[in-house]
C-alpha cells in the first residue's frame, strides 16, 4: 500500500517567491492536514481539510493557503516567501478528521523547503 506521498522532496526558493507543495493521501483517506516543522522543533499545525473544505487553521499568516481536490489530494501554497519559512512541510492523512480508535494521522516524509 502506498503511504502519504509528497512532492517535491526538496525545494530551494528565493525570498519573495511563491511555492506550491503537493500531497497525495493514503487511498481512501479523505482528510489531509499540513504541518510545518522547523529544524529542531516539533511540527506545528497549519491546516486540516476534509471533503475539500477547510476544517481548521493554525496560527499562520494569510500567505499560507491550501486546497483539497475531488480526489482528496491537496496543495499547500506559500506566497511572498520569507527566510523563516524554511522548514520541513509535512502532510498527514486520515480517513476522517479524527479516526477512531487510533486517532492518529499517517505522515508523509515531507518537503524540505529552503528559502535563500
Amino acid at each position: 500500500d502506498a503511504g502519504v506521498t509528497q512532492s517535491p522532496t526538496h525545494l530551494i526558493k528565493t525570498r519573495g517567491q511563491q511555492v506550491t507543495l503537493r500531497c497525495s493521501p493514503i487511498s481512501g483517506h479523505k482528510s489531509v492536514s499540513w504541518y510545518q516543522q522547523v529544524l529542531g522543533q516539533g511540527p506545528q499545525f497549519i491546516f486540516q481539510y476534509y471533503e475539500k473544505e477547510e476544517r481548521g487553521r493554525g496560527n499562520f499568516p494569510d500567505r499560507f493557503s491550501a486546497r483539497q481536490f475531488p480526489n482528496y489530494s491537496s496543495e499547500l501554497n506559500v506566497n511572498a516567501l520569507l527566510l523563516g519559512d524554511s522548514a520541513l512541510y509535512l502532510c498527514a492523512s486520515s480517513f476522517v478528521p479524527r479516526d477512531r480508535p487510533n486517532y492518529g494521522y499517517t505522515f508523509g516524509s515531507g518537503t524540505r523547503l529552503t528559502v535563500v
Partner: protein, 114 residues
Amino acid sequence: QQQVKQSPQSLIVQKGGISIINCAYENTAFDYFPWYQQFPGKGPALLIAIRPDVSEKKEGRFTISFNKSAKQFSLHIMDSQPGDSATYFCAASIMIQGAQKLVFGQGTRLTINP
C-alpha cells in the same frame, strides 16, 4: 494554553537500558496523547497513544504512563536498542471546530549506545 512541554531535549542510554521521556500539558481539553518517532529525512510515525481515561498503555517494549491530575505523561522504552535511536515527539490532540489539531512537544533526540 495550547503547549506541550517535553524533556529532556536529548538522552543517551546504553543498549538494554530504559529510556524515559516526559511531557506536560496545561489544557484539559486535550483528549488524546500520541507519541511519534521520527528518523532523519522521514516524517513522524505514530508509535503508541493513550486516552486520558487510561493510566498506562503498553505495546511491546513501549509504555505510556499517564497522570491526569498532574497533567503529565511519559514514554518508557524498555530494553532500548540502537535501532531506537531517533527523535521522539509527544503530542496532544484537540478538536477545534471539527478539525483535529495535534500540538507537539519540542522533541527528544534519543541515542542508544551499543
